[in-house]
């Protein structure tokens, strides 16, 4: 009995860690969002260089968080890793390709003899920004809408979707989350530009584009959330482990975990406050990224937690509902979870040095002079 309890505790703990990483990842997707704005906000070569360099100092954080998110999922819920990655093959491969071409694009973009030309690398950054955000949003959407997979008695996956995962894009609810993430990432990018660039034309244009992106963001976000709260969800019977459909499941999850309502509302308020203050403030308000960033983190965290907690199947199977993954049937063994939990105590330390390094690099705003200085490392 004690072992049962403690196993569940560690499963919940690791779902929380995965959720925290997922939430941090969505915030950090501002790098991707910014990559889709290079030409809309940067009208001259220098301006574009400033934008690329501003983002380029942060791309590794997003990338590393994505890799760690994948690693942590593998470690704590290996059955998700094997069924989702192996099953939704083309969906994941597309995401991976979008990230593969990103890493080099910054480094190679403005180097002499780069063979493919500056423009190609900028297109690659755009592709990463578009597919990286939309498709990761779609993946998170599938946690609520399910995917067509089946497990055999040895837990080997077979997939019944026609396009090995890409069919998930056709689900409008998934897609609405994908587009929400896309526009949110662009908003966060703009707020980040306002926060860290000192160049008047970029700032002016940023403000304009902030308005353009906020409108579709709110439309898609509301459609996603409203539908989520009224739709049926995949409930797990805690004693038998049997999965069944339950109406208003995700709304009920919120109501049954009221602290999540507070976190969710705080998050939404934070995002809106950050955006609106940046739009309406007469002077340049450069703190918007922090409110909107933390807000994003809180909202995404809530979404992950209502997907996995409170006896909910977090990766529902549309082919055979009882093959759906829950944090109990998909997790690693107690020993592995415990071992990794000890390592996870390092996380606050990791966060501390990230904050420290971030502040060191962002102490001064980025200016034209710095980007044109030949002694600086620039992209």
């Amino acid at each position: 009995m004690i072992n049962e309890i403690s196993l569940l505790f560690f499963q919940q703990y690791w779902w929380l860690i995965v959720s925290v990483l997922g939430a941090a990842l969505v915030f950090l997707l501002f790098v991707q969002g910014g990559q889709t704005l290079i030409y809309q906000i940067g009208k001259t070569e220098t301006e574009r260089n400033i934008i690329v360099n501003t983002l380029g100092r942060k791309w590794e954080f997003t990338f590393t968080t994505l890799v760690t998110f994948g690693g942590a999922f593998f470690a704590s819920f290996p059955l998700f890793y094997s069924s989702s990655f192996g099953g939704a093959y083309w969906l994941w491969i597309t995401i991976l390709l979008a990230f593969t071409i990103q890493a080099v694009s910054y480094e190679f973009r403005s180097k002499p003899n780069n063979v493919l030309g500056k423009k190609t690398f900028e297109i690659m950054l755009f592709i990463n920004g578009l597919f990286g955000t939309v498709l990761l949003g779609v993946v998170v959407g599938t946690l609520f809408n399910g995917v067509p997979f089946e497990l055999d008695s040895l837990n080997r996956v077979s997939w019944h979707g026609s396009a090995r995962g890409l069919e998930a894009i056709l689900n409008l609810h998934n897609l609405s989350l994908g587009l929400t993430v896309f526009f949110l990432a662009r908003i966060l990018a703009i707020l980040y530009f306002i926060n860290s660039i000192e160049q008047i034309d970029i700032l002016k244009r940023s403000k304009k584009h902030l308005i353009y992106n906020t409108i579709p963001f709110i439309v898609f976000f509301l459609s996603f959330v409203i539908y989520l709260l009224i739709k049926d969800g995949f409930a797990v019977d805690p004693t038998s482990g049997i999965v069944s459909m339950q109406s208003f499941k995700y709304l009920n999850n919120l109501l049954q975990m009221p602290v999540l309502i507070i976190i969710f509302v705080l998050g939404v308020v934070g995002v809106l406050y950050g955006i609106l203050n940046s739009i309406f403030s007469k002077k340049i308000y450069d703190k918007g990224i922090w409110f909107a960033g933390i807000g994003t983190f809180l909202v995404v965290l809530t979404l992950f937690l209502i997907a996995g907690y409170n006896n909910t199947a977090f990766y529902p199977s549309l082919h055979n509902i009882n093959d759906s993954l829950t944090i109990q049937n998909a997790s690693s063994s107690l020993y592995t979870l415990k071992t990794m939990s000890i390592v996870s105590l390092l996380v606050p330390f990791v966060i501390a040095y990230i904050v420290f390094a971030w502040r060191l690099i962002n102490k001064k705003k980025i200016t034209e002079d710095e980007i044109n200085d030949k002694n600086e490392h620039t992209y």
Binding site: F61, V67, V104, Y106, F108, S333
Partner: protein, 521 residues
């Protein structure tokens, strides 16, 4: 349900090809990253200690080259991590409880260390103090090397699964002892051998590029200083490579005797086994015929036995012993192991069936049979005994070329280091051929480093987890056409990026550090 014996062989081949492609591209960039970061950190330490701006200039030059290399290493790395899931999903489940932990630790401990401090290293020159910057450089080097640690621990476990028990309920291996996994002798040797081989490649890269400058009679001070630092670093590393390489071979002999037999082209094992210095394999030879294994060879009798067991008269198993069995030395015929493996698979299925019907007696009986035959589990997925033999010629030649090149590198380091330390290197009459040799050594180091992985990974075939899971049983159930398509997409993208990288780097080297010697405070 997918019946694993009927799995499309071309799916397995394409999945293997895709993983090999990604891993080999990844491994072009990783060794340089592992080693050059330490070389750069040592150079920067010299700068901070002496205050000599020339050292800063040297540090920044190599750092720039490193930056180009690093990005593409990261790009190929992310694909590798996720390919375990996309292409080897059955394997991911089978090993996830063990494999996942190192990967998560790697993310938390190493990747963030590397990616956080790399930003300070590149962008912090005018933002933080000299000492802070130096610390960031060392931490980046440490982070990069720790990143290699955990994935190699995972790889070590595949070659020698320890510290776990198979759970028949969940059909996977579950970790029982983290330290057994982490400190397994295979993992420790593999880690040390792999990272030190990376140091060798990086040191040769620095020497090769410096040779180019000496050849052109430019940047002589930069070249000499770089050669001294990378020469010392490389020489120490190559001795560590030899030492850990020997350790790895001993481990292979004990835990993967078939791999060792393939490395040495040893078909008929025996006492006083011969170490092959150079040899040409007989292409007609296979495990079932009486052809001679070699067309030509220079070997040393008893040396292999001695190196492996410290006894020149000891027995070393050959390919034929392992396939046909050798009762004298307690080696079961592969057919026997196949039969027992099939029994293990069958009893696992029956056990699960009995559990479903709540038939405890039958479940217990099948569980006992399963546990008794578990060590042969993977053999049950094979069709015939010969399937346990990897591609002998590929493994044999890869191994021998690696060793020959490695021995040559000792000489390269020694000569370059000695000539630089005695300050003769830029005054040589016969400098030109030496410097050209220095440049040619760069591709040689890449080749030998890649071949090391060929030995390790082709040599372990058909296993994805030694004796427990074959590649065909670990692969994702997907159409071969899908994998074929992604293979070509990856091949195209990686190749395009590699061409761009080489072109950028060549240009950077030709340009050299832009600032004047002694300048750039």
């Amino acid at each position: 349900m997918m019946t694993l014996l009927n799995i499309d062989p071309s799916l397995v081949d394409w999945s293997r090809a895709q993983f090999a492609l990604t891993a080999m591209y990844h491994w072009i960039f990783v060794p340089i990253t592992l080693g050059i970061l330490f070389i750069i950190a040592i150079m920067e330490t010299r700068y901070v200690k002496t205050g000599d701006p020339e050292w800063k200039r040297i540090t920044k030059f190599w750092m720039k080259l490193f930056g180009v290399n690093f990005a593409i290493g990261v790009a190929t790395g992310i694909i590798l991590e996720f390919e375990f899931g996309t292409n080897w999903s059955n394997y991911s489940w089978f090993v996830g409880d063990i494999f996942g932990a190192p990967l998560a630790i790697e993310g938390i401990m190493a990747f963030f260390l590397e990616s956080t401090f790399i930003a300070i290293m590149f962008f912090g020159w005018n933002k933080v103090s000299k000492k802070m910057h130096l610390t960031a450089t060392w931490l980046t080097a440490l982070g990069a090397n720790l990143s290699a640690l955990w994935i190699l621990v995972a790889n070590g476990w595949m070659q020698y699964p320890v510290g776990m028990a198979f759970n028949p309920e969940t059909a996977r291996n579950e970790m029982l002892n983290f330290w057994d996994v982490f400190l397994s002798p295979v993992a420790v040797n593999k880690f040390l051998h792999t990272i030190t081989s990376g140091y060798v490649v990086a040191a040769i890269f620095v020497i090769g590029v410096s040779s180019y400058f000496l050849l052109r009679k430019r940047e002589v001070l930069l070249a000499k200083r770089s050669i001294i630092i990378s020469g010392v670093f490389g020489l120490m590393a190559i001795f560590a490579v030899i030492f850990t390489g020997h350790g790895s071979a001993v481990q292979v002999a004990q835990k993967q005797p078939m791999k060792l037999a393939a490395m040495e082209g040893l078909y008929k094992g025996g006492e006083s086994a011969e170490l092959i210095g150079i040899g040409i394999l007989n292409p007609k030879k296979d495990v079932n015929n009486q052809e001679k294994p070699f067309l030509f060879k220079i070997g040393f009798k008893g040396v292999l036995s001695y190196l492996i067991n410290f006894d020149k008269n000891s027995f070393v198993a050959g390919v034929e012993d392992l396939v046909h069995g050798n009762p004298e030395f307690g080696i079961l015929p592969a057919q026997e192991r196949i039969n027992r493996g099939k029994l293990a698979i069958h009893s696992l299925k029956e056990y699960k069936k009995a559990l479903k019907h709540e038939d405890k007696t039958s479940a217990n009986m099948h569980l006992k049979t399963f546990e008794k035959n578990f060590e042969h589990l993977g053999y049950g997925y094979l069709e015939k005994p010969e399937d346990i033999v990897p591609n002998v010629s590929l493994v044999f030649y890869s191994f021998h070329i690696m060793v020959i090149f490695g021995t040559f590198f000792v000489l390269v380091f020694a000569v370059f280091l000695w000539l630089s330390m005695t300050n003769k290197i830029d005054k040589l009459k016969w400098g030109k051929p030496l410097f050209i040799l220095g440049i040619i050594t760069i591709p040689m180091s890449f080749i030998s480093s890649e071949l090391g992985w060929v030995v390790a990974e082709v040599g372990r075939q058909p296993w994805v987890v030694q004796d427990l899971l074959t590649v065909s049983a670990g692969v994702t159930d997907i159409s071969s056409a899908s994998v074929q398509t992604t293979f070509w997409i990856f091949a195209f993208i990686f190749t395009a990026l590699l061409i761009a990288e080489v072109s950028i780097m060549t240009r950077m080297i030709k340009t050299g550090p832009k600032t004047k010697e002694g300048g750039n405070k």
